[in-house]
Symmetry: C5
Subunit: 84 residues, 5 copies
C-alpha cells in the first residue's frame, strides 16, 4: 500500500456510471506525482494517507461494484515524510 | 487512477477479437509517455482524463468482456497540470 | 495498454506447461527495455503494437488458461514514435 | 515478490473496516521509498523481508477478506543488501 | 512477462504457510534490482528467465493456492542481454 498526501477534491462532471456517487480525491506522492483515488474515509487536504490498489481497491471502497483501482485505506497519524 | 491528457484516436486495423468495437484512444501523461485506453466516455483531443486500470478497466469499459487493462473513467474539469 | 515495437521471437525450450504452444515474442519499448508477450495476432519484427496486461492478458491470448501476464492486443497502423 | 527492510509499525487510528485488526508495518526499499504492508509473520524493525502483492496479498494475509494489496510473505535470513 | 537473470536460492526460514514448500529464487534484472520468484522450472544460477506476474503467477506455480505474485515461466535460450 502506497503513501500519499491528500490534495484537493477532484472536480469531474463527466464520468463512467460505475464510479457511482463516490468521492474522488487527488493524491500526491512525495515526488509530486498526482493520482486519483476514491475516498471512503473522508480525508482532509493535507492528510497523509495510505491506499489499496487493484481489486482490493474495489473492496475497500465499501462497494465491490465501484470501478476504482485506488482507494484510500486509512489516515496515517503524525506522519513526518521528511523524517524518512 | 492515473491522470492523462487525451491525444489522437488510435488507428488499428488488426486487433484481437476481444477488443470488439471499442473506441481506442492514445493518452499521454505529463512526462510525455503514451499509453492506449478504451474510451466509453467520448473524450476529445486535449481533454484531461483519469483512468481505471486492471480488472476495473474491464468493468469500466461497460462490458466486462472487453479485453482492456486501461479505461477512461472520467474527464477532469478545469485541470491545470502546471498548477501541480 | 502499453506501446511496444516487436523484436525477435523468443527461443525458449524449457517453459511451464501452462504456456502451452503459444507464440512468444520479445517486445521493446521506446526506452529500449525488453519484455516478453504472447502473440495471438501474428506480428512481424518491427511492427508497433499495444498490449493487454494482467488478467486481461489471459483472455486476450484467446485461451484463459494460458499463463501469461502480457499479450499483444493489436498492431498500430503508421505509428511514428518520434512524432510523439 | 519484492524485497524490503522493515521499518516502524504504522500508527493509524482511522482506517477502512476491511483492514480489520491486522498489523500494519512500514517497509522501505533500498532506494528509501516507503510502502505499507500487512504483517502476518511478526517482523521486527530492521528485518529484511519479501512481499506478495495484488490478490496474492489478500490470501497471504491469512484472511482473504483483508483489504490489502501488500503482505509480508517471509523474513530473509542473513540478507546483505550491499552484497547485491 | 519480464526478463531476469537467476541469482542465488533464497534462504528463508520464516514464511507464510501459503508459500508451502515452493522453491524460492532471487532474480536480478539488467539494472541490478532484485526480486523473489517461485521456481517450478528448476533454474540454475546464471540462467536468463522470463516471469509471469499477478494472478498468472499463481497458476504458473503449478498450484493456484501458492501465494506468490511472481513465478519463473521459462528459461530463455542463448540470451545475450548486451545485444539488446
Amino acid at each position: 500500500m502506497d503513501i500519499y498526501q491528500a490534495d484537493k477534491t477532484l472536480v469531474c462532471t463527466s464520468r463512467v456510471p460505475g464510479l457511482k456517487q463516490t468521492s474522488l480525491r487527488i493524491l500526491r506522492n512525495k515526488m509530486g506525482n498526482k493520482v486519483v483515488a476514491t475516498d471512503p474515509v473522508g480525508v482532509r487536504e493535507g492528510n497523509w494517507v495510505f491506499t489499496a490498489s487493484g481489486s482490493a481497491a474495489r473492496f475497500a471502497a465499501g462497494d465491490f461494484e465501484v470501478l476504482t483501482d485506488l482507494t484510500i485505506a486509512g489516515i496515517i497519524d503524525n506522519w513526518d515524510e521528511s523524517a524518512g
